[in-house]
């Protein structure tokens, strides 16, 4: 066990994966000599060589397209897209190619690859270093989408994603890259995909969050607890395939739900969650499901703390929902 932050835990996971399987390789812009712009891949090229930790040319299409080819040949590439905001030039490769290869070859070929990318705001990154594009990929049949909130889950989910036979988009909450430290095993272990976790049990309102906003949901829950409102906070961990049962059983208990995400509200993942909850727990609901989200604008710089669904916006939503 070592005290690690998210960056160190992901680095440790990549090191374990490179050690345990010769077919694993890490590739992306600046991931080698520099160790990545966030230093997530620091030291890996030194340890494993430039043919296993590849500094690639600056092309997301090239990174994702060649990674697909490598995966088709039997390698297990872990690519980094430097910021989730830069993933769109490679969108076609992820959505039309990686996600569809198994289906369109009836399982004869498949693409076991992981795409790591830092997402989200709160780092003064403005429009192009702050986005949360998860809904686009959840909407894509054939992709899995993972978003850890803490170092232990990050390493375990990453190792599970690398062993998974389907393409996985691994969203890293860069706002909390270095904010949290916890004990993380130095040896390999996995956290299964598709399992949410109740991080704060409660009886009156369910609050669903993931990634960096989990901490805001938790803070807001603690705040309203002082006013006698008992909130259950669920960390989704894997966004798709979704652990729907965990959410529904919580809502069956509380009858009230608040969903928090950074991405814009309209057609955000919260919309799907509200629909699923309404379909499955309609008769348990005591209040309308509420979404606390980013606004339907491009991501701003100066007012990013008013754009993000931070605790100051979550707490009133929890109170209103509890008292509805």
């Amino acid at each position: 066990m070592t005290q690690m932050n998210l960056v160190q835990a992901i680095n440790s996971g990549l090191r374990d994966a490179l050690q345990e399987d010769d077919n694993v390789l890490v590739m992306g812009e600046d991931v080698g000599r520099l160790g990545g712009v966030f230093r997530v891949t620091q030291g890996l090229q030194e340890e494993f060589g430039a043919d296993r930790v590849l500094d690639t040319p600056l092309s997301e299409t090239g990174i994702l397209g060649t990674a697909i080819g490598m995966a088709l040949h039997g390698l297990r590439p872990v690519s980094e897209i430097q910021f989730a905001d830069f993933i769109y030039p490679g969108f076609d490769q992820l959505v039309s190619e990686a996600a569809k290869y198994r289906y369109r070859t009836a399982g004869e070929f498949h693409v076991p690859m992981v795409v790591r990318t830092p997402y989200g705001g709160g780092i003064r990154g403005g429009q192009y270093h702050s986005q949360s594009p998860e809904a686009l990929f959840i909407h894509t049949a054939g992709l899995k989408v993972v978003c850890p909130s803490n170092p232990y889950d990050a390493k375990g989910l990453l190792l599970e994603a690398i062993r998974d036979e389907d393409p996985v988009l691994f969203l890293e909450p860069k706002r909390v890259y270095r904010a949290v430290k916890m004990d993380v095993p130095d040896t390999p272990y996995t956290v299964p995909l598709g399992e949410a976790k109740v991080v704060r049990p409660g009886e009156q309102v369910t609050c669903v969050a993931w990634g960096a906003m989990l901490y805001e949901a938790f803070t807001a829950a603690e705040e309203v607890a002082k006013q006698g409102i008992d909130v259950e906070v669920i960390d989704l961990r894997t966004l798709w395939p979704l652990n729907i049962d965990a959410i529904v059983s919580s809502v069956e208990k509380t009858g009230r739900v608040v969903i928090v995400h950074e991405a814009p509200r309209t057609c955000g993942f919260g919309s799907e969650l509200v629909a699923l909850i309404t379909e499955r727990a309609f008769l348990n609901l005591e209040a309308p499901p509420v979404r606390v989200t980013g606004w339907d604008t491009p991501f701003p710089l100066t007012h990013e703390r008013e754009y993000l669904p931070l605790a100051h916006r979550i707490a009133p939503a929890l109170l209103d929902t509890a008292r509805y």
Binding site: G62, L64, G65, A106, A141
Partner: protein
């Protein structure tokens, strides 16, 4: 580069030195591909299949390249190269079943016709968006190189694909990583309606390779031996650790872009007629006749064999039922998640759509 002269003789300075049996095999494969094309086009016109994208006039470029690649090399197709897959021994029945989307379609009716693949034949999957397969080919080549395997990759694409971002990304990666890949650009004159001259300001497609420091050749794509030689030279370069090669195969699409196209709207009959005289089959046939191994009788017999074979495949394909409805829901992921299990049950237990009206 040409090898077969107009009179059917070979240029001895460029002759790749194939045995006469090998040359006849290439010719027979070209004829078979064309007969399959003709039959599929006819049955599409009769409304019996939805669509076909053929290779009329481009058989030498496709079969010549496939012939020069070794069995262990990978083929990454665009969508007009089923001739290469058949050359590798893919069962014709399986292809025709795919064209019908029936229960024996390896794709289980999930794709339009002509979206073939085969792991056994080292032939990746056809994807309709243009150019997306080119970086895959480079990735396969990078993987083979990393694993120390003597394998290279031939990736087909058309003149239009040289405008796609995937093409440029792939060329750049291939140059940087010295990937053992052959970029096989079938310049057939048109990207649907857009002439190659309007696709790019460069004089040739091959000169684009210089920007990525990829060696390039430009050959007569209607001369099967010229294609064979250029591709085999590229295979040799790749096998020797010399990295990628770009080959522009100059040819002409004698047919429409697909059965959904009407080329009369954008090009003249005179132009197409002039290219009919350069049909790759004519020169090659002249050559093997000169060598004394082919004649009208043999030609007629072979055509009859091919025609009989494809008709029989069509007959069988039409007798087969549709794939099971449940197959619409499998292979999205390795294991079926809850939401697909649920939707599968909703679909299967739900109401059935009425059949489309029979247009034939």
């Amino acid at each position: 580069m040409h090898v077969i002269r107009d009179d059917g003789s070979l240029d001895p300075t460029r002759d790749p030195g194939l045995s006469i049996d090998e040359v006849v095999a290439l010719y027979k494969a070209m004829v078979r591909t064309r007969i399959v094309d003709d039959r599929l086009e006819k049955i599409q016109r009769q409304g019996r299949i939805a669509f076909h994208v053929g290779s009329l006039g481009e058989e030498a470029a496709i079969i010549g390249a496939a012939g020069a690649l070794r069995d262990r090399d990978w083929i990454v197709p665009c969508y007009r190269e089923v001739g290469a897959l058949l050359w590798r021994g893919y069962p014709l029945q399986q292809y025709v079943d795919h064209m019908y989307g029936n229960a024996d379609d390896p794709l289980l009716g999930r794709q339009m016709p002509d979206h073939t693949f085969s792991r056994a034949h080292r032939y990746l999957s056809v994807s309709a968006p243009i150019g997306t397969q080119i970086p895959h080919a480079v990735g396969v080549a990078m993987a083979a190189k990393k694993r120390g395997l003597d394998e290279c990759v031939g990736v087909f694409f058309g003149d239009g694909a040289t405008s796609s971002n995937d093409f440029h990304a792939a060329m750049n990666f291939a140059g940087v990583y010295q990937a053992p890949v052959l970029f096989l650009c079938r310049n057939n004159g048109y990207a649907i309606s857009l002439p190659a001259e309007q696709q790019t300001a460069t004089r040739t497609m091959a000169e684009k390779a210089a920007a990525y420091r990829v060696p390039a050749a430009r050959v007569d794509g209607n001369d099967v031996l010229a294609v064979w030689r250029a591709v085999r030279d590229g295979v040799q370069r790749a096998a020797d650790g010399g990295g990628p090669t770009f080959i522009e195969l100059m040819t002409y699409r004698l047919g429409g872009h697909s059965t959904s196209d009407d080329p009369r709207i954008y090009r003249s009959e005179e132009e197409t007629d002039s290219w009919r005289k350069a049909d790759p089959m004519l020169r090659l046939r002249k050559h093997i006749e000169q060598r004394g191994v082919w004649n009208d009788d043999l030609d007629g017999d072979w055509r009859a064999v091919c025609d009989g074979e494809v008709k029989e495949c069509v007959r069988r394909a039409e007798e087969k039922p549709a794939p099971a409805l449940v197959e619409m829901f499998t292979d999205v992921y390795e294991e079926q998640p809850w939401h697909l299990r649920e939707q599968q049950a909703q679909c299967i237990d739900g109401p059935r759509a009425t059949a489309e009206e029979d247009e034939s």
